[in-house]
């Protein structure tokens, strides 16, 4: 029969290649990738372009941008170089974005997967806990955590992760509740595959794409949350972070708006790049959503 022998002439394109092709089709996503690459490059090369401690005195305080060659973005009220702050701050922002996201997604996956897969009372208990976390305004909870553990970068990152897991958890749970009814899960159970293996090896890879897309949202919110904390003066003062720069630049907003606007634009672009890439990832990973 002709149908039994499939036409295997078509070379099976690798998954990555297919996804890249779909991603690339979204021009905005490519723009996002470019911005993100620029931010990543800035983080990577911060030590090369602006060597030394970005917090050290680099020139006359409040030098406006484009007036002194050594500090093309100007200096803040303690004479710290803003360009150095932006470049080194990229490290902090990316670090916060990535680590906080990994934490929140990891917690979210664990809780969502267990709740969604097992259902019943386990689901009830986990969902009550999730609701409790969701009920307390996350920023207020974050403020409390920072009050408890201090404004160190570590506690801020963990804090952001801990207050942002509920949305991924609900999302993973919903995915699991749908996927656990799919026949391939029954098929695996029918083969005698254990629960843990079904959760993490069978269902999770299928539940991941929307979560990965959502991760770009979490990453963006993480950066915004850190900057809001720093804006209130609760950032970690040991590092040049964009939030810290805005928080302090605010005091000289009228006199030297560039101290606020430059890091503000940096945040805006970075968050924008995450969202744009998120859209592209959505195209790449969930092609059925867009015909």
């Amino acid at each position: 029969m002709s149908a039994t022998d499939l036409d295997l002439t078509r070379p099976a394109a690798s998954r990555a290649a297919v996804m890249w092709r779909r991603f690339r089709r979204n021009r905005a996503a490519v723009l996002g990738l470019v911005i993100f690459a620029a931010v990543a490059l800035a983080a990577l090369l911060a030590g090369v372009i602006t060597p030394g401690d970005p917090l050290r005195l680099a020139g006359q305080p409040l030098t406006p941008p484009l007036t002194v060659a050594a500090s093309p973005f100007g200096t803040d009220q303690l004479g710290r170089d803003i360009l150095a702050g932006i470049l080194h701050g990229a490290r902090i922002s990316l670090l916060i974005g990535v680590v906080a996201t990994v934490i929140s997604i990891a917690i979210g996956i664990l809780i969502g997967a267990v709740a969604g897969y097992f259902g019943g009372w386990i689901d009830d208990v986990l969902m009550r806990i999730t609701e409790a976390f969701q009920t307390i305004p996350s920023f207020v909870l974050l403020l409390t955590l920072v009050a408890i553990f201090g404004s160190s970068l570590t506690s801020i990152v963990i804090g952001i992760g801990v207050v942002s897991w509920t949305a991924p958890a609900r999302m993973v749970r919903a995915e699991f509740m749908t996927l656990r009814q799919r026949e391939f899960v029954d098929a695996a159970r029918n083969l005698g595959v254990g629960n843990a293996s079904i959760i993490f090896r069978e269902i999770l890879p299928n539940a991941l794409p929307p979560v990965i897309v959502f991760a770009s949202v979490v990453m963006a919110t993480s950066i915004l949350m850190e900057s809001a904390l720093a804006f209130l003066g609760l950032g970690d003062a040991n590092f040049a972070s964009w939030g810290n720069m805005i928080g302090q630049g605010r005091a000289v907003l009228r006199e030297a708006a560039f101290c606020t606007v430059i890091p503000g634009v940096a945040i805006l672009l970075t968050v924008l790049s995450f969202s744009l890439m998120g859209e592209g990832l959505n195209d790449a990973l969930n092609p059925r959503q867009k015909k």
């Binding site: 401690d53 009220q77 303690l78 004479g79 160190s152 609760l234 003062a237 907003l253």
Partner: protein
């Protein structure tokens, strides 16, 4: 014992003379009426200066509740008291009270109110006053207008007088007696004798006080109809409000330095430190001597040499400050001296001293690391802590900043002593004995804020402090304080790096503003608005 008494009496007399003089000085075209909008940065839970001694409280209650004595540029003048004197042994201080003063509810003011306030509020409930009045045994009222304070140990009259503007506010006995004082509703709706009467407190928004038509200084006072304080915690918002004409004045660094300087150049505003002389504070670097590195005085001195206070004054305080010379600020009057050891900025020397102390730099240029707790008291302290960290890096000390909120900071520093260095403010309260020397004396229980967190123990310092507290002769007293200053600048448990008054900004429409050294805490009876 005669000299101080005479001088103080004459000061009181001067007020009596000054009163008509003031009236004459006031231009004839004084305009009556109008409302003043003043900025207050923090919400006040309690509007009772006999329960809460802080400028935030005085700023509001000063208009409604008057002290026994106030401080002017001409010295201490009587407000609710007219004369004061001390017994020879210094154990009894007598106040003559002003006649014809009535509380806002119409009841007459008398010695009963003073005695009640002193025994039931000042001594047990008022912060700092508890220390000041620790030895107060009773207050006698030989007649309704005479109050005699009896002490078990000698109480220097100068100390008592200097403390009274802040810690000497009587409240009406008839409204407090028999109630739970801390929950008395008048703590939020004060009844006083001042030129303005409390009208309304809208939480988080504003407080309104209106003219007291029955003010003891005469029917012509006050000139204003109304004072409204707007609560704006955000400095940038306050700056914009001031600029938009929604505020007339913002005291106590209520705006950021940048905005103060910018608006100071605006012809519509007066900006400066005038009127804040009584509220001087130090930016500090505080050491934990329990750390063996910092226990070495050479290290502490080297750190002082590593600090470019002039740079910090210029960038952080925009020049509105001067280098500190120990625990007593230059505003401290006769108790102040500048004859003390100093540690000018000299990073090379600082490095050499650190080398000598046995802390050479490693391959990365780092000698040792310090965990630093910056106080969250706003712009100055935050920037100063960051400057400190930068400056230390230059001399090879790595500083890690451990940022916390107020309770976290106070706990870390004062209760747990979990810090190597810290920075914050120290506010000078008229006399070193009120709150300054407590800081340097050993033996305070752990956990009390602004008590010796350094682990600094010096028998010499302790005995100097104790002696000064009971010394009745002003000259000898001053000399003891000079010794204390010198000893502190030698032992250096804390660096009083920069001395700065507060800065205020005021619309030029206000006439007679900032005409006393604690103007924003004063009653504003002579303030008027030209519009």
């Amino acid at each position: 014992m005669q000299t101080p008494l005479t001088r103080l009496l004459s000061a009181a007399g001067a007020l009596a003379l000054a009163l008509p003089a003031f009236a004459q000085e006031t231009p004839p075209e004084v305009k009556r009426g109008g409302t003043i909008f003043s900025h207050i940065i923090a919400e006040q839970g309690v509007l009772n200066p006999a329960l809460r001694a802080s400028t935030g409280v005085y700023q509001i209650t000063g208009k409604m509740i008057e002290p026994l004595i106030d401080k002017t540029y001409d010295g201490y003048v009587g407000v609710l008291a007219t004369e004061w004197s001390s017994s020879a042994d210094g154990k009894a201080i007598t106040f003559k009270l002003r006649d014809g003063v009535r509380w806002h509810d119409g009841e007459p003011f008398s010695c009963d109110d003073v005695a009640y306030s002193a025994m039931n509020l000042w001594k047990p409930l008022l912060n700092y006053s508890s220390t000041l009045q620790a030895n107060l045994e009773s207050v006698d009222c030989p007649d309704p207008l005479t109050a005699v304070f009896n002490y078990s140990h000698p109480m220097p009259l100068a100390l008592m007088v200097a403390a009274m503007p802040d810690l000497g506010h009587p409240v009406p006995k008839h409204l407090y007696e028999g109630t739970d004082i801390l929950k008395n509703p008048h703590n939020q709706a004060p009844i006083g004798t001042g030129p303005f009467k409390f009208q309304e407190y809208e939480r988080g928004q504003y407080i309104i006080a209106v003219r007291n038509d029955d003010y003891w200084r005469g029917k012509e006072y006050p000139y204003l109809d109304r004072v409204i304080w707007r609560i704006i915690p955000d400095k940038a918002a306050a700056a914009a409000a001031l600029e938009a004409g929604e505020l007339h004045e913002s005291p106590f660094n209520g705006l950021s330095m940048a905005d103060l300087e910018r608006l100071g150049n605006d012809p519509r505003f007066d900006m400066g430190t005038k009127g804040f002389e009584n509220n001087v504070a130090h930016e500090t670097v505080e050491f934990n001597l329990r750390n063996p590195i910092l226990a070495d005085v050479r290290v502490r001195q080297a750190i002082y040499h590593g600090l470019d206070t002039d740079f910090a004054i210029k960038t952080i305080m925009r020049g509105y400050a001067k280098p500190g010379r120990g625990p007593i600020p230059s505003a401290g009057g006769e108790n102040y001296t500048d004859d003390v050891p100093t540690y000018p900025y000299d990073p090379a020397k600082a490095r050499a001293m650190l080398d000598e102390a046995g802390y050479p730099a490693d391959a990365n240029g780092v000698r040792f690391k310090l965990r630093h707790r910056p106080a969250p008291w706003g712009e100055y302290t935050t920037l100063w802590s960051q400057y400190y960290a930068q400056a230390m890096k230059e001399i090879g000390i790595e500083v890690e900043l451990l940022t916390n909120d107020t309770p976290g900071f106070l706990n870390g520093v004062y209760r747990d002593h979990d810090f190597d260095t810290a920075n914050g403010w120290h506010q000078f309260r008229s006399d070193p004995a009120v709150s300054t020397t407590v800081w340097l004396r050993s033996g305070a229980p752990a956990g009390t804020a602004w008590s010796n967190q350094f682990g600094y123990e010096s028998a010499e310092m302790d005995s100097l402090i104790d002696a000064a507290a009971e010394e009745l002769d002003p000259a000898k007293r001053a000399d003891l304080y000079h010794q204390i200053q010198r000893l502190e600048m030698t032992d250096l448990p804390v660096i009083f790096a920069i001395e700065h008054p507060f800065i205020g900004i005021t619309s030029k429409k206000l006439i007679n503003h900032h005409n006393t050294p604690r103007w924003d805490s004063s009653s504003w009876y002579d303030l008027w608005i030209d519009e």
